[in-house]
């Protein structure tokens, strides 16, 4: 187990002990929620892991690097940011996918742009956002999020 994994597990254990001390009933309820979300996300997790296996075995690093790597330039960055904005992948599984892309030649900026637009912008949830918060605020938030995602990505590409 990596250090990160140990820290995360200790954190969960700490929260659990604290919760048990405060309220046994609600902790039990929370465990129910945890098991349910675990079962719900499991197939998607397995699926992405299988896809990552195929990706790393088949996609040649030169191709990935040309599409979304250092050589892809600003156009490549915008393209992957747009892809992230449109796709509806659970954020939790986008990180292993991003790691595998990095490992096979993608640039830091592209990966950062992809994750940021993927989580921050929801094309699928946009109608609900408009309904609850109004057209102006929804469009402003999603539009500006795209711009700041690109700025974040460029900064990360420069500093990492």
């Amino acid at each position: 187990m990596s250090t990160t994994a140990i820290i995360i597990n200790l954190l969960a254990l700490g929260c659990l002990v604290f919760a048990l001390a405060r309220d046994r009933g609600r902790t039990k309820q929370a465990m129910g929620v945890a098991v349910k979300s675990f079962v719900r996300i499991l197939p998607t997790v397995f699926m992405i892991i299988v896809i990552i296996g195929l990706l790393m075995a088949f996609a040649p690093p030169e191709v990935i690097s040309r599409l979304i790597g250092e050589q892809a330039g600003f156009g490549g960055l915008l393209a992957i940011a747009a892809l992230g904005a449109v796709l509806h992948i659970p954020a939790l599984i986008s990180f292993p996918l991003a790691a595998s892309l990095l490992q096979s030649g993608a640039g830091v900026a592209s990966v950062a742009a992809f994750i940021t637009t993927l989580t921050m912008i929801g094309a699928v949830t946009l109608p609900l956002e408009i309904k609850e918060l109004g057209r102006k605020m929804a469009f402003l938030r999603n539009g500006l999020s795209f711009i700041i995602a690109v700025i974040i990505a460029l900064t990360m590409g420069a500093i990492l």
Binding site: I49, L92, T116
Partner: protein, 192 residues
Amino acid sequence: MKQDATSTPHRKKARKEMARGYILLAATLVAAAVILRIFPDKVTAATAATRSYFLEMVTILPAVMIIMGLFSVFVSRELVVKYMGKASGIRGIAVAIFFGALPTGPLYLAFPLAAALRSKGASISNIVVFLSAWACIKIPQELIELQFLGVKFMAARLILTIIFVAIMGVFIEKVIEWTGNRGIGVSQRVAR
């Protein structure tokens, strides 16, 4: 209770999503088997990558789910509304990021909550920051990002996101103030 009213359609939707998840998984497995049958020389590389990612995932996923479950039960909607309604300025932004980052459910739950916050008097900048934090600074996400992309990547993206989300929140508030409040749609909601 309020939650009961939404639980039935929510549960039905969740079940449908899960069934779709398993169907997609089965399809992916079949496709992978067929592809690897055609290219047997790739089997070792593919299974090695899959195994290493599987191990990384399996050592943290249960812990992440426990953290999410605990927060979703222990942090009530009332608590969020209570603290976010009155906080303003830098403190308001910090509170909005804090409550947005708590692992308490998917983004579609945040929109009605944000609308409720608006009617309780929370500022537009706080609401934008809250929504953005909910979308992309969630604690479980950060934990998984830490595991797969490392502390440098995760910390850099986290800090940059907080800075730019705060700027965006203030900017959107100014734009909406300049152009008038009519488009926001919350006013009708309050009147109702």
